[in-house]
Symmetry: C2
Subunit: 154 residues, 2 copies
Amino acid sequence: MSRRYFEDFHAGQEIALGSRVVTEEEVIAFATQYDPQPFHVDPEAAATSIFGRLAASGWHTCAMAMRIVVDNLLRDSSSLGSPGLEQVRWLKPVYPGDTLHVAFQVKEARASQSKPDRGVVVSVWRISNQHGELVCTVEGMSMFGRRPREGGHA
Amino acid sequence: MSRRYFEDFHAGQEIALGSRVVTEEEVIAFATQYDPQPFHVDPEAAATSIFGRLAASGWHTCAMAMRIVVDNLLRDSSSLGSPGLEQVRWLKPVYPGDTLHVAFQVKEARASQSKPDRGVVVSVWRISNQHGELVCTVEGMSMFGRRPREGGHA
């Protein structure tokens, strides 16, 4: 896949990205640092929680999805960061041993009114597990630089 | 502060939580694992980016805020996790050396219609730096168990 610019995105597009295995070690390490609620760090406490067993922090699920998006889409692109997210839904628990898959759906691609060198892509990340269950959705905005004009040695 | 239950939240309430210093080591460590875009992991590349210097991943900013919220509010509460977020805005870059402060504003507290043992608290986290600049806002939902009735040895 060649380098992606703003012009490479259009509404309705769906891009299947990679996957990632969730390990208990990583679930506990992330949660110990950023979300040390008992059901994310302590398997025994998690057993009697609403999750039934140790479950990943929702922020960790998003971070793992972000890594998949960076590796398979943003890394080789004209990404200029993000102004924010419109919605996140944590639909089902993510457990150690799960494999997460991310599909990147383009909802809208609009050129910037104020900055002609870039555009905003509104996307929905659909994060599923190995059973095909949707575990999380993230609707976010990403800014991308426009493709350099011909003659610019793009 | 005693243990917080759903009944302890009401619209309009603002709770100042703690603060946290952002280190370069942690910015690079988080981004290396979850958001390895050049402006989050490589000080030299960051110098010529839109951020001007190394800046924290937006997901990392949220994760650091989450830790402040857990330590100062969720840890000693009847928290039952979160169904999701309504909006995240990354308003200004977060740099190593910054100190982040979180204010937790309650927008709405509503009892669950389907589950009488809990309620949903809609909150806005206002994340500011040491200059008093708002760097990020997170509007999220949290579920809390209701206070046990008297006689229940609460």
